[in-house]
Amino acid sequence: MIRGSVVVATDVCKGCELCIAACPQDTLALSPQINRRGYRYAVMVQDNCTGCINCALVCPDSAITVYRQPKVTKHALSPQAAAEKEN
């Protein structure tokens, strides 16, 4: 499984929960703490993010940055072969 992760800008998040509803993996939930504007913000509660970017697309405040493992293709060169090719 491709692993992903999200980073929420906690001070920007307004706790609208749209990302939580959009997440197919139930990775996100609202935090027990509040941010400096008084909103509960989105946090990762499970480590099963696939980096599908659905949460970031529906986020009205652009608070979410999504990270994903680089895709490994079948024909990817091994480090040795890549070094040879460069030479």
Binding site: G15, C59, P60, Y67
Partner: protein
Amino acid sequence: METRTINDIEMEVVYQKPETLTETQMHYCPGCGHGTIHKILMEVIDDMGIQDRTVGVAPVGCSVFAYNYMNIDMQEAAHGRAGAAATGVKRVLPDKYVFSYQGDGDLAAIGTGETIHTVNRGENILMLFINNAIYGMTGGQMAPTSILGQITSTTPFGRDAAAIGYPLKITELVAHLPGAYFVTRQSVHTAAAVRKLKKAIEMSFRYQDRKKGTCFIEIVSNCPSGWKMTPLQANEWLVKNMFPLYPIGDIKVPKEI
């Protein structure tokens, strides 16, 4: 590409806030569709690399401060007159990409005349129409686009057709005009809908190069504060009540590809 290590796995950024969107924190209520639409619009401008060649026209309404969030050239228009202001901008600067960003109180109420005549003249601009069936900024009064039976602060017993008339489907109205080139209705309530909207905006900017007429995109959006709901309830209400009247899809597409 920016990478970072999370749990000993090296990961790369696959999605982040578009660069053309400023760092200013938005004043919109939690869950408001305006923020999503701003973001997608700026993403398209980033992807096409037309930040220095785009001029936007901001309306009066909730999105009156759109120029604070979009790092492009913007012009504020008088209430309802964004279509007329965008016409002027496009005629003086014909090689720029021009769009107007208007809500339903702006485009479909006070600015109905300007909207219809702008489209009828076939100005080569993109008109973005954000329809949330209510006047959100002033406290949730009835808008021309409010659906029958909808409870607002000025129709506390629901909108009654006998007293107030019927909802105005201005997108269908302008689609009949010969000046309209591309007319579509989109939404931002799910990630799939956001992706479709992005495609529609991108196509509209590309159509501007052809100089064939006005592109008109209606975006069915929510107003959690005006509807007195949570954002999630608002999106459910939108699917249940607004989509039967305002169905999503293309209304007029150009014949030649």
